[in-house]
């Protein structure tokens, strides 16, 4: 018995090495699962506060471009508002709100962002207290940014579109052809549109928007434009490269969207189609 203990004692450094590596690998896997530990990431309070202070300081350097982007978004919204407002010489019927798709919107600031790894995440300065819940869609005036992964009281972590684990249900605006958009991990301004069959005709320059099928995003939020479409090497699907419309290296303010009917939709689909 004593021999065994002596043996283990001599190996103590190696055993600690194995234990620490297993611990690290364990954290990597729990963190990457969809329900991953929320505490151990940049949305926990201490880290969030530090990032917030850093961002407060740095944001002064980009006030001009931020203001310009917000002004552009305002102009676009004013245009839409103008089209929606009732015209004097016609009667309008108000549609029952049950029929409308109920989306709620929030705005938030990006306080941490990365674009160079394969699993990139974004941290926002709003959390559970502001009504942010996991699963909400994230976009800015240029297009889709990602999806909320986890929240703490005051901060939220977002899976960036630049994350090889995130799929966005999308379609081509002109032809209504739909597919899934996924980042290929190569360039921060390019992604792939998957699962589009070979017989579909795709032209470079066509606009790709969210499809609205998965109830995370409303329909029609821009994602990017087709850069090139080639027959895939071995699959039955086309190999489509997409130029993303969002400049991820310069994210400042974003919008969050929540579909109020999502739970109902999800549970209905679970019941009828199965998981």
């Amino acid at each position: 018995m004593q021999q065994i203990f002596l043996f283990l004692y001599r190996l103590r450094a190696f055993l600690l090495f194995i234990a620490l590596e297993l611990l690290a690998v364990g954290i990597i896997f729990t963190h990457n699962s969809p329900q991953g530990a929320v505490f151990f990431n940049s949305s926990n309070k201490l880290v969030g506060n530090m990032l917030y202070v850093k961002n407060n300081f740095l944001s002064y350097f980009s006030l001009y471009s931020t203001n310009q982007a917000l002004a552009e978004k305002n102009a676009e919204l004013l245009n839409q508002l103008d089209q929606l407002s009732p015209v004097l010489d016609s009667a309008t019927l108000s549609v029952d709100s049950v029929l409308a798709n109920n989306f709620e919107f929030w705005s938030a600031r990006v306080i941490n962002n990365s674009i160079h790894l394969n699993q990139n995440y974004i941290t926002l300065n709003k959390g559970r207290r502001d009504g942010i819940v996991p699963g909400m869609g994230v976009f800015n005036e240029q297009g889709v940014v990602g999806r909320v992964k986890g929240t703490s009281n005051n901060y939220a972590t977002v899976i960036s579109l630049l994350n090889t684990d995130l799929l966005i249900s999308s379609k081509i605006r002109e032809t209504e052809v739909f597919g899934s958009l996924k980042w290929d991990g190569l360039h921060s301004n390019e992604a792939k549109l998957l699962y589009v069959p070979r017989h579909v005709k795709i032209d470079p320059g066509q606009e790709i928007v969210t499809s609205g099928y998965n109830a995370v995003f409303p329909e029609g939020i821009p994602i990017g434009r087709v850069k090139s479409a080639n027959p895939g090497t071995e699959t039955n699907y086309l190999d489509i490269s997409v130029t993303l419309s969002v400049n991820f290296s310069n994210l400042k303010f974003i919008y969050l969207v929540k579909n109020d009917s999502r739970e109902e939709l999800d549970s209905l689909e679970m019941e009828t189609v199965g998981p």
Binding site: A13, L23, A24, I28, M50, H116, N118, Q119, G185, L186
Partner: protein, 173 residues
């Protein structure tokens, strides 16, 4: 280890950590070359320090940096591996006459030739593990190689500059 030294290394830990997460995190050259300067803190710990405290220091440093990188466990795993391999590698590189006590293995103390041979393989292994975990599940081998090579060069050059500018020579001849 004297109290003064413990204070000195604790301060070093904090400074390397803050510089890593607040400055170097946003500094990625050409989208490929990262700088993980904190490895030089682990490399510069006293050579008479046993592997167990080095690995624990590496683990905590890695976890703290992971929190800010949102790459939980990746820096920790790489830094623990670095800490584990460091002492055997120092043994292999023993210069003729052995090491002097109280002389940490830094660039100015040991000279460029020794330091190149000491640091490059260890940094390479750290980067290989880090970026390998990053590409797990994908087949992006070319970006992997570019990232490892670019980051190795960037980290090493920055580390050499930092040591040349901010470190003191401690060897007494």
């Amino acid at each position: 280890m004297t109290t003064g030294k413990i204070l000195k290394y604790s301060l070093g830990f904090v400074i390397y950590f803050l510089i890593q997460v607040f400055i170097l995190k946003d500094l990625v050259l050409f989208g490929y070359a990262f700088s993980f300067l904190y490895v030089f803190f682990i490399l510069g710990l006293p050579h008479e320090m046993p592997a167990i405290p080095i690995m624990l220091i590496g683990f905590f440093m890695g976890i703290l940096i992971d929190l800010f990188y949102d790459s939980l466990g990746m820096h920790a795993a790489s830094a623990v591996l670095l800490g584990f391999l460091r002492n055997p590698w120092i043994q292999v590189n023993t210069p003729t006459g052995g090491y002097d006590d109280n002389v940490p293995p830094t660039l100015l103390n040991m000279g460029m030739g020794w330091y190149l041979f000491y640091s490059i393989p260890l940094i390479l292994i750290h980067h290989l593990l880090f970026f390998y975990i990053d590409i797990l599940g994908t087949e992006l081998y070319l970006p992997f190689v570019i990232r490892v090579a670019g980051s190795l060069a960037f980290t090493f050059i920055l580390g050499i500059i930092v040591q040349a500018v901010f470190y003191k020579k401690e060897r007494v001849i």
